[in-house]
Symmetry: C2
Subunit: 198 residues, 2 copies
Protein backbone atom coordinates (compact mmCIF):
# COMPACT_ATOMS: atom_id res chain seq x y z
CA UNK A 1 0.00 0.00 0.00
CA UNK A 2 1.42 3.34 -1.06
CA UNK A 3 1.73 6.12 1.51
CA UNK A 4 -1.36 8.30 1.52
CA UNK A 5 -3.17 5.69 -0.59
CA UNK A 6 -6.62 4.42 0.24
CA UNK A 7 -6.80 1.04 1.98
CA UNK A 8 -8.23 -1.40 -0.54
CA UNK A 9 -11.25 -3.19 0.87
CA UNK A 10 -14.26 -5.19 -0.16
CA UNK A 11 -16.72 -2.29 -0.01
CA UNK A 12 -14.47 -0.11 -2.16
CA UNK A 13 -14.09 -2.68 -4.90
CA UNK A 14 -17.82 -3.38 -5.03
CA UNK A 15 -18.61 0.35 -5.18
CA UNK A 16 -16.04 0.86 -7.91
CA UNK A 17 -17.60 -1.92 -9.96
CA UNK A 18 -21.05 -0.36 -9.46
CA UNK A 19 -19.79 3.08 -10.52
CA UNK A 20 -18.20 1.58 -13.63
CA UNK A 21 -21.41 -0.35 -14.35
CA UNK A 22 -23.46 2.87 -14.25
CA UNK A 23 -21.24 4.35 -16.94
CA UNK A 24 -21.24 1.26 -19.11
CA UNK A 25 -25.03 0.78 -18.91
CA UNK A 26 -25.61 4.47 -19.68
CA UNK A 27 -23.19 4.24 -22.59
CA UNK A 28 -24.13 0.86 -24.09
CA UNK A 29 -27.66 0.25 -22.82
CA UNK A 30 -28.72 -2.88 -20.99
CA UNK A 31 -28.39 -5.29 -23.91
CA UNK A 32 -25.11 -3.84 -25.16
CA UNK A 33 -23.36 -3.90 -21.80
CA UNK A 34 -21.32 -6.90 -20.71
CA UNK A 35 -19.77 -7.90 -17.39
CA UNK A 36 -16.43 -7.99 -19.19
CA UNK A 37 -16.80 -4.34 -20.29
CA UNK A 38 -17.73 -3.36 -16.74
CA UNK A 39 -14.67 -5.18 -15.39
CA UNK A 40 -12.48 -3.39 -17.92
CA UNK A 41 -13.97 0.02 -17.01
CA UNK A 42 -13.46 -0.70 -13.30
CA UNK A 43 -9.93 -1.96 -13.88
CA UNK A 44 -10.58 -5.29 -12.22
CA UNK A 45 -10.64 -8.91 -13.28
CA UNK A 46 -13.94 -10.15 -14.76
CA UNK A 47 -13.95 -12.95 -12.17
CA UNK A 48 -14.19 -10.31 -9.45
CA UNK A 49 -17.34 -8.85 -11.03
CA UNK A 50 -18.82 -12.34 -11.08
CA UNK A 51 -17.77 -12.78 -7.47
CA UNK A 52 -19.86 -9.78 -6.36
CA UNK A 53 -22.75 -9.97 -8.82
CA UNK A 54 -24.74 -12.95 -9.96
CA UNK A 55 -25.04 -11.84 -13.59
CA UNK A 56 -25.88 -8.72 -15.55
CA UNK A 57 -29.38 -8.23 -14.14
CA UNK A 58 -28.08 -8.25 -10.56
CA UNK A 59 -25.40 -5.73 -11.50
CA UNK A 60 -27.98 -3.51 -13.18
CA UNK A 61 -30.32 -3.49 -10.16
CA UNK A 62 -27.34 -2.46 -8.02
CA UNK A 63 -26.17 0.19 -10.49
CA UNK A 64 -29.66 1.69 -10.85
CA UNK A 65 -30.48 1.30 -7.13
CA UNK A 66 -33.48 -0.85 -7.95
CA UNK A 67 -34.92 -2.39 -4.81
CA UNK A 68 -35.40 -5.90 -6.11
CA UNK A 69 -33.97 -9.08 -7.35
CA UNK A 70 -35.31 -9.15 -10.92
CA UNK A 71 -35.84 -12.90 -10.80
CA UNK A 72 -38.29 -12.49 -7.93
CA UNK A 73 -40.31 -9.97 -9.90
CA UNK A 74 -40.16 -12.01 -13.07
CA UNK A 75 -41.26 -15.18 -11.32
CA UNK A 76 -44.04 -13.28 -9.58
CA UNK A 77 -45.51 -11.30 -12.43
CA UNK A 78 -46.20 -12.34 -15.96
CA UNK A 79 -46.66 -16.08 -15.77
CA UNK A 80 -49.57 -16.30 -13.35
CA UNK A 81 -52.56 -14.84 -15.11
CA UNK A 82 -56.24 -15.44 -14.55
CA UNK A 83 -59.11 -13.75 -12.73
CA UNK A 84 -57.81 -11.72 -9.80
CA UNK A 85 -54.13 -11.96 -10.66
CA UNK A 86 -54.07 -8.29 -11.64
CA UNK A 87 -54.85 -7.38 -8.03
CA UNK A 88 -51.97 -9.57 -6.80
CA UNK A 89 -49.58 -7.97 -9.28
CA UNK A 90 -50.53 -4.44 -8.18
CA UNK A 91 -50.29 -5.39 -4.53
CA UNK A 92 -46.91 -7.11 -4.97
CA UNK A 93 -45.45 -4.26 -7.01
CA UNK A 94 -46.44 -1.60 -4.47
CA UNK A 95 -45.42 -3.70 -1.46
CA UNK A 96 -41.96 -4.00 -2.98
CA UNK A 97 -41.64 -0.23 -3.50
CA UNK A 98 -43.19 0.51 -0.09
CA UNK A 99 -40.32 -1.42 1.48
CA UNK A 100 -37.81 0.64 -0.53
CA UNK A 101 -39.21 3.98 0.69
CA UNK A 102 -36.68 6.08 2.58
CA UNK A 103 -33.75 4.16 1.12
CA UNK A 104 -31.55 5.15 -1.81
CA UNK A 105 -33.66 2.79 -3.91
CA UNK A 106 -36.93 4.67 -3.53
CA UNK A 107 -39.26 4.95 -6.49
CA UNK A 108 -38.73 8.72 -6.52
CA UNK A 109 -34.95 8.36 -6.83
CA UNK A 110 -35.25 5.78 -9.62
CA UNK A 111 -37.86 7.89 -11.45
CA UNK A 112 -35.75 11.03 -11.11
CA UNK A 113 -32.69 9.26 -12.52
CA UNK A 114 -34.77 7.93 -15.40
CA UNK A 115 -36.48 11.27 -16.13
CA UNK A 116 -33.31 13.34 -16.13
CA UNK A 117 -31.04 11.15 -18.28
CA UNK A 118 -32.28 9.68 -21.58
CA UNK A 119 -29.52 7.07 -21.63
CA UNK A 120 -30.54 5.85 -18.17
CA UNK A 121 -34.11 5.67 -19.48
CA UNK A 122 -32.91 3.59 -22.44
CA UNK A 123 -31.13 1.12 -20.18
CA UNK A 124 -34.12 1.01 -17.83
CA UNK A 125 -36.53 0.33 -20.68
CA UNK A 126 -34.41 -2.52 -22.04
CA UNK A 127 -34.15 -3.92 -18.54
CA UNK A 128 -37.92 -3.78 -18.01
CA UNK A 129 -38.55 -5.45 -21.37
CA UNK A 130 -35.83 -8.10 -21.11
CA UNK A 131 -35.93 -8.99 -17.45
CA UNK A 132 -39.10 -7.90 -15.69
CA UNK A 133 -41.14 -9.18 -18.58
CA UNK A 134 -39.47 -11.02 -21.40
CA UNK A 135 -38.51 -10.10 -24.93
CA UNK A 136 -40.74 -12.79 -26.43
CA UNK A 137 -44.31 -13.91 -25.71
CA UNK A 138 -44.47 -16.59 -23.03
CA UNK A 139 -47.16 -18.57 -24.85
CA UNK A 140 -46.17 -20.17 -28.14
CA UNK A 141 -48.07 -18.68 -31.07
CA UNK A 142 -49.02 -15.52 -29.18
CA UNK A 143 -48.99 -12.40 -31.32
CA UNK A 144 -45.76 -10.47 -30.64
CA UNK A 145 -47.25 -7.03 -31.22
CA UNK A 146 -50.17 -7.70 -28.94
CA UNK A 147 -47.80 -9.10 -26.30
CA UNK A 148 -45.70 -5.90 -26.43
CA UNK A 149 -48.84 -3.78 -26.16
CA UNK A 150 -50.09 -5.71 -23.11
CA UNK A 151 -46.67 -5.48 -21.46
CA UNK A 152 -46.44 -1.70 -22.01
CA UNK A 153 -49.98 -1.00 -20.84
CA UNK A 154 -49.48 -2.96 -17.62
CA UNK A 155 -46.22 -1.10 -17.10
CA UNK A 156 -48.08 2.21 -17.58
CA UNK A 157 -50.67 1.44 -14.92
CA UNK A 158 -48.12 0.16 -12.38
CA UNK A 159 -45.73 3.09 -12.87
CA UNK A 160 -48.59 5.58 -12.80
CA UNK A 161 -49.76 4.22 -9.46
CA UNK A 162 -46.23 4.46 -8.09
CA UNK A 163 -45.73 7.98 -9.46
CA UNK A 164 -48.91 9.17 -7.76
CA UNK A 165 -48.23 7.23 -4.54
CA UNK A 166 -44.59 8.07 -3.93
CA UNK A 167 -43.88 11.27 -5.85
CA UNK A 168 -47.08 13.27 -6.25
CA UNK A 169 -48.45 11.78 -2.98
CA UNK A 170 -51.97 12.00 -4.30
CA UNK A 171 -54.52 10.75 -1.76
CA UNK A 172 -55.91 8.15 -1.45
CA UNK A 173 -53.23 6.48 -3.62
CA UNK A 174 -50.61 7.73 -1.16
CA UNK A 175 -52.44 6.48 1.94
CA UNK A 176 -54.28 3.29 0.94
CA UNK A 177 -52.79 -0.16 1.52
CA UNK A 178 -51.26 -2.04 -1.41
CA UNK A 179 -54.12 -4.50 -1.03
CA UNK A 180 -56.77 -1.79 -1.50
CA UNK A 181 -54.90 -0.45 -4.51
CA UNK A 182 -54.84 -3.98 -5.90
CA UNK A 183 -58.64 -4.12 -5.60
CA UNK A 184 -59.09 -0.77 -7.33
CA UNK A 185 -56.56 -1.13 -10.15
CA UNK A 186 -56.37 -4.94 -10.44
CA UNK A 187 -59.17 -5.19 -13.04
CA UNK A 188 -57.21 -2.77 -15.25
CA UNK A 189 -54.20 -5.08 -15.21
CA UNK A 190 -56.46 -8.10 -15.78
CA UNK A 191 -57.89 -6.46 -18.90
CA UNK A 192 -54.46 -5.50 -20.19
CA UNK A 193 -53.27 -9.09 -19.66
CA UNK A 194 -56.17 -10.96 -21.15
CA UNK A 195 -58.89 -8.67 -22.47
CA UNK A 196 -59.63 -7.19 -25.84
CA UNK A 197 -57.66 -3.98 -26.45
CA UNK A 198 -59.83 -2.33 -29.09
CA UNK B 1 -31.79 54.21 -14.31
CA UNK B 2 -28.62 53.86 -12.29
CA UNK B 3 -25.26 53.60 -14.08
CA UNK B 4 -24.30 49.97 -14.70
CA UNK B 5 -27.88 48.91 -13.96
CA UNK B 6 -29.78 46.56 -16.21
CA UNK B 7 -32.25 48.13 -18.62
CA UNK B 8 -35.70 47.26 -17.29
CA UNK B 9 -37.79 45.59 -19.96
CA UNK B 10 -40.98 43.60 -20.34
CA UNK B 11 -39.30 40.20 -20.73
CA UNK B 12 -37.12 40.78 -17.68
CA UNK B 13 -40.02 41.71 -15.44
CA UNK B 14 -42.10 38.74 -16.54
CA UNK B 15 -39.17 36.37 -15.97
CA UNK B 16 -38.49 37.88 -12.56
CA UNK B 17 -42.11 37.35 -11.57
CA UNK B 18 -41.93 33.72 -12.77
CA UNK B 19 -38.72 33.12 -10.82
CA UNK B 20 -40.31 34.59 -7.69
CA UNK B 21 -43.43 32.49 -8.26
CA UNK B 22 -41.35 29.30 -8.38
CA UNK B 23 -39.95 30.11 -4.96
CA UNK B 24 -43.28 31.07 -3.45
CA UNK B 25 -45.10 27.98 -4.82
CA UNK B 26 -42.30 25.71 -3.60
CA UNK B 27 -42.38 27.40 -0.21
CA UNK B 28 -46.13 27.80 0.36
CA UNK B 29 -47.67 25.20 -1.96
CA UNK B 30 -50.31 25.98 -4.54
CA UNK B 31 -53.11 26.81 -2.12
CA UNK B 32 -50.95 28.82 0.27
CA UNK B 33 -49.38 31.00 -2.42
CA UNK B 34 -50.94 34.32 -3.40
CA UNK B 35 -50.29 36.73 -6.24
CA UNK B 36 -49.59 39.38 -3.62
CA UNK B 37 -46.83 37.23 -2.05
CA UNK B 38 -45.32 36.62 -5.48
CA UNK B 39 -45.37 40.37 -6.21
CA UNK B 40 -43.67 41.03 -2.88
CA UNK B 41 -40.99 38.39 -3.57
CA UNK B 42 -40.39 39.84 -7.04
CA UNK B 43 -40.29 43.39 -5.70
CA UNK B 44 -43.02 44.59 -8.04
CA UNK B 45 -46.52 45.94 -7.68
CA UNK B 46 -49.29 43.34 -7.46
CA UNK B 47 -51.04 45.04 -10.39
CA UNK B 48 -48.05 44.16 -12.55
CA UNK B 49 -48.41 40.46 -11.72
CA UNK B 50 -52.08 40.68 -12.71
CA UNK B 51 -51.03 42.46 -15.89
CA UNK B 52 -48.88 39.51 -16.98
CA UNK B 53 -50.85 36.59 -15.56
CA UNK B 54 -54.57 35.96 -15.57
CA UNK B 55 -54.70 34.56 -12.05
CA UNK B 56 -52.83 32.08 -9.89
CA UNK B 57 -53.34 29.03 -12.13
CA UNK B 58 -51.87 30.83 -15.13
CA UNK B 59 -48.89 31.90 -13.04
CA UNK B 60 -48.40 28.34 -11.81
CA UNK B 61 -48.42 26.83 -15.30
CA UNK B 62 -45.78 29.38 -16.31
CA UNK B 63 -43.70 28.78 -13.18
CA UNK B 64 -43.81 25.00 -13.58
CA UNK B 65 -43.43 25.11 -17.38
CA UNK B 66 -46.71 23.27 -17.83
CA UNK B 67 -47.74 23.23 -21.47
CA UNK B 68 -51.37 24.16 -21.00
CA UNK B 69 -53.93 26.62 -19.97
CA UNK B 70 -55.52 24.83 -17.01
CA UNK B 71 -58.98 26.05 -17.95
CA UNK B 72 -58.77 24.23 -21.25
CA UNK B 73 -57.90 20.99 -19.54
CA UNK B 74 -60.51 21.46 -16.88
CA UNK B 75 -63.23 22.22 -19.38
CA UNK B 76 -62.15 19.26 -21.49
CA UNK B 77 -61.79 16.57 -18.88
CA UNK B 78 -63.94 15.78 -15.91
CA UNK B 79 -67.36 17.07 -16.86
CA UNK B 80 -68.04 15.05 -19.99
CA UNK B 81 -68.41 11.47 -18.88
CA UNK B 82 -70.22 8.60 -20.51
CA UNK B 83 -69.34 5.65 -22.72
CA UNK B 84 -66.25 6.39 -24.78
CA UNK B 85 -65.27 9.59 -22.99
CA UNK B 86 -62.29 7.82 -21.40
CA UNK B 87 -60.80 7.36 -24.87
CA UNK B 88 -61.26 11.09 -25.61
CA UNK B 89 -59.60 12.05 -22.32
CA UNK B 90 -56.57 9.84 -22.99
CA UNK B 91 -56.29 11.11 -26.55
CA UNK B 92 -56.62 14.77 -25.50
CA UNK B 93 -54.10 14.41 -22.66
CA UNK B 94 -51.45 12.82 -24.87
CA UNK B 95 -52.06 15.17 -27.79
CA UNK B 96 -51.40 18.08 -25.45
CA UNK B 97 -48.11 16.59 -24.21
CA UNK B 98 -47.12 15.50 -27.72
CA UNK B 99 -47.26 19.15 -28.75
CA UNK B 100 -45.02 20.09 -25.80
CA UNK B 101 -42.29 17.58 -26.75
CA UNK B 102 -38.94 19.20 -27.45
CA UNK B 103 -39.89 22.38 -25.59
CA UNK B 104 -38.98 23.35 -22.05
CA UNK B 105 -42.46 22.18 -21.06
CA UNK B 106 -41.98 18.55 -22.00
CA UNK B 107 -43.47 15.85 -19.81
CA UNK B 108 -39.95 14.63 -18.98
CA UNK B 109 -38.89 18.06 -17.69
CA UNK B 110 -42.06 18.44 -15.59
CA UNK B 111 -41.72 14.90 -14.22
CA UNK B 112 -38.04 15.41 -13.40
CA UNK B 113 -38.79 18.63 -11.52
CA UNK B 114 -41.58 16.88 -9.62
CA UNK B 115 -39.52 13.76 -8.82
CA UNK B 116 -36.46 15.63 -7.57
CA UNK B 117 -38.10 18.22 -5.29
CA UNK B 118 -40.80 17.21 -2.78
CA UNK B 119 -42.03 20.79 -2.44
CA UNK B 120 -42.54 21.04 -6.19
CA UNK B 121 -44.45 17.76 -5.99
CA UNK B 122 -46.63 19.22 -3.22
CA UNK B 123 -47.48 22.28 -5.30
CA UNK B 124 -48.08 20.12 -8.38
CA UNK B 125 -50.42 17.79 -6.47
CA UNK B 126 -52.47 20.68 -5.10
CA UNK B 127 -52.63 22.15 -8.57
CA UNK B 128 -53.82 18.88 -10.11
CA UNK B 129 -56.45 18.48 -7.40
CA UNK B 130 -57.66 22.09 -7.37
CA UNK B 131 -57.46 23.05 -11.00
CA UNK B 132 -57.23 20.09 -13.36
CA UNK B 133 -59.98 18.35 -11.41
CA UNK B 134 -61.71 20.14 -8.62
CA UNK B 135 -61.52 19.94 -4.86
CA UNK B 136 -65.16 18.94 -4.53
CA UNK B 137 -67.34 16.43 -6.38
CA UNK B 138 -69.02 17.95 -9.43
CA UNK B 139 -72.30 16.16 -8.81
CA UNK B 140 -74.25 17.17 -5.69
CA UNK B 141 -74.48 14.34 -3.19
CA UNK B 142 -71.55 12.41 -4.69
CA UNK B 143 -69.39 10.66 -2.11
CA UNK B 144 -66.26 12.76 -1.52
CA UNK B 145 -63.98 9.82 -0.79
CA UNK B 146 -65.07 7.96 -3.87
CA UNK B 147 -64.64 11.13 -5.95
CA UNK B 148 -61.06 11.51 -4.68
CA UNK B 149 -60.36 7.85 -5.43
CA UNK B 150 -61.68 8.15 -9.00
CA UNK B 151 -59.68 11.34 -9.57
CA UNK B 152 -56.43 9.77 -8.33
CA UNK B 153 -56.86 6.55 -10.30
CA UNK B 154 -57.51 8.43 -13.56
CA UNK B 155 -54.44 10.55 -12.78
CA UNK B 156 -52.40 7.37 -12.27
CA UNK B 157 -53.35 5.91 -15.65
CA UNK B 158 -52.76 9.15 -17.55
CA UNK B 159 -49.40 9.87 -15.92
CA UNK B 160 -48.31 6.25 -16.34
CA UNK B 161 -49.02 6.41 -20.06
CA UNK B 162 -47.06 9.66 -20.32
CA UNK B 163 -44.16 8.29 -18.27
CA UNK B 164 -43.87 5.27 -20.56
CA UNK B 165 -44.41 7.30 -23.75
CA UNK B 166 -42.09 10.23 -23.16
CA UNK B 167 -39.54 9.08 -20.58
CA UNK B 168 -39.15 5.32 -20.74
CA UNK B 169 -40.08 5.35 -24.47
CA UNK B 170 -41.62 1.92 -24.19
CA UNK B 171 -43.02 0.68 -27.50
CA UNK B 172 -45.74 0.68 -28.64
CA UNK B 173 -46.77 3.39 -26.15
CA UNK B 174 -43.97 5.58 -27.52
CA UNK B 175 -44.92 5.06 -31.17
CA UNK B 176 -48.72 4.70 -31.30
CA UNK B 177 -51.00 7.65 -32.04
CA UNK B 178 -52.86 9.32 -29.18
CA UNK B 179 -56.03 7.96 -30.76
CA UNK B 180 -54.83 4.35 -30.58
CA UNK B 181 -53.75 4.86 -26.97
CA UNK B 182 -57.22 6.23 -26.28
CA UNK B 183 -58.73 3.02 -27.65
CA UNK B 184 -56.45 0.83 -25.54
CA UNK B 185 -56.58 2.71 -22.24
CA UNK B 186 -59.92 4.52 -22.58
CA UNK B 187 -61.95 1.73 -20.96
CA UNK B 188 -59.68 1.98 -17.90
CA UNK B 189 -60.53 5.66 -17.51
CA UNK B 190 -64.22 4.92 -18.11
CA UNK B 191 -64.21 2.38 -15.30
CA UNK B 192 -62.38 4.74 -12.94
CA UNK B 193 -64.91 7.49 -13.73
CA UNK B 194 -68.09 5.50 -13.47
CA UNK B 195 -67.52 1.88 -12.58
CA UNK B 196 -67.43 -0.05 -9.33
CA UNK B 197 -64.02 0.15 -7.66
CA UNK B 198 -64.12 -2.94 -5.47
Amino acid sequence: MSPGGRRPGKADTREEIIAAAREVFADKGYEGASLRAVARAAGVDAALVHHYFDGKAALFTAAMSLPFDPRVVKDGVPQESGPGSGAAIVEGFLTMWDKAEGTGSSFASCAAATATAPNVADAMREFVIERIWSAEPARPGEDKKLFARRRALISSQLMGLAFNRYILRMPPLSTATPRALGRWAGPTVDRYMEGSLG
